[in-house]
Subunit: 314 residues, 2 copies
Amino acid sequence: MDLAAGVDFGGSSVKVGLVDRRGGIHARETIEIDPRASFEGILEPVVHGLRRLAAGIEKDSSLRTVGIGTPGFTDTVTGVLVGGCENIPRLRGNSIQGFLADALGVPGFADNDATVAAAGELLFGAGRKYRNFLLITLGTGIGGGFVLDGRVFRGARGFAAEIGHLCVDPNGVWCNCGSRGCLEQYASGPAMVRLYTEKAKKRGAELPGRALTPKDIVDRAGAGDPLARDTIEEAGRFLGQAFGTILNLLNLEACIVGGGISQAGDIVIEPIRRHLADHCWPLIASGVQVVTAELLNDAGILGAAAQAFERLER
Amino acid sequence: MDLAAGVDFGGSSVKVGLVDRRGGIHARETIEIDPRASFEGILEPVVHGLRRLAAGIEKDSSLRTVGIGTPGFTDTVTGVLVGGCENIPRLRGNSIQGFLADALGVPGFADNDATVAAAGELLFGAGRKYRNFLLITLGTGIGGGFVLDGRVFRGARGFAAEIGHLCVDPNGVWCNCGSRGCLEQYASGPAMVRLYTEKAKKRGAELPGRALTPKDIVDRAGAGDPLARDTIEEAGRFLGQAFGTILNLLNLEACIVGGGISQAGDIVIEPIRRHLADHCWPLIASGVQVVTAELLNDAGILGAAAQAFERLER
């Protein structure tokens, strides 16, 4: 059986797995990395992990290719990570795909993490029902991936779907990208924590002794805390505005919401559905589905492996 | 030789032509229509015109299909014009494609006019160099058409690329679509006339005795009129903002500017180029081309015919 290694980069750990063409995961591992190490220093433990998995492959199977989901901007033409990726800056200017492919002796293909997740959902998850959708990942940042006419869409060099930096308020909060009013400043995990904290201070509400997390806000909203509900409503309004704009441009069938925060389900999804219609032609909004992602933690491994298989066949 | 009829609907006239697979136009005619007539009343003269052209076809050639570019929203799944099209409301709820196909006894395919023009530029015009571009038509309204990964992109039901109603100022001018701050309110022909007139009145500048046209403004800008230059600069700023947003989302290679106003060339194009970079990641903006359309009045006929040929081959 042909297997692909799927590699999903996070800020402090990397998930790797061996995947078959049908999306079956045969072995998996999570590898800690040191984001401050050199490029080679970051990738060596990943190579060791992949070799450990490969050593366990049964005799009638073989590792054919390696697919990688990366943070930041990976140029899908050259394979080089050319920008973004503030948390692991030493990945910049280098080809993760080249390094892993050389180390394993198989071809490789790297793509941006949210696009990889969209590929995973298209083949094995919530995207199977749709030919045109946006996957958005809500976490520390906001990422996006498009499937258009049934195929993953990357744009000219793989930089499409930078949803986190869509402007939702031209006079809004400054973003670390240098622009202002970016969606990420209103609907990412840290943004929700900031919004909630501001509201709580203003109204003299109680805050926990430790640092607040997005999960706290979702949990509090579930328990009926009005400040938490307001925070999620506000984030949902901006997400609805962003989705509405994108729907008008691309006449999509669905928005699939993934990333840690999406696991809260309807508490997060329902406000997005509601606000969408304010920013979108009724003709286009009618019938659009807003749903949660299905693959959660496996989307990256599965999508990266599937895209690598697809490249192999070209 | 196989021929397709290409039909390009305007507000008060319809351009028709017989086109071969290589984009050669063998015969053409412009047909006046009465926008207030019944659906059949509008289309009968078009059918007569097409029959006249078909009667002149040489013996070794034959009419195989009819392609149509329509105003408003044509559902490309059903062929029915389902919305928009305020200038010829009786087209709504009807299938132009069905009517013309029946009358001519060949298959038909209708699509939105700017998407049809994008198809024309892709095959025979300024789009031949690119795999990913937006065509924008600047005229009485603002229309758009996408080519993504080398193919015309329509979205789920053919409604993609409604660029004219992209919000460029959430607190801006109300639009007849019911939203506010739509691009069409800042960069269409009528918007430029409105902006110029406001400026002229404010500064006591001379206005012509007749109604001002967008061409007047472009001509005056060419002759050095500072109010006309300011007007085009302002429209260019909003067009740059819209393009920048779309580039960030789709990582396109080019924006092709068509429609009557685009014929002014660099006077209109240069401000768009300049403002683009303020709204777009440098990585994505670098290398993006903003160019004028090449086919001008023929884009609709050529694109409609080419899309009809393409459908025939499926």
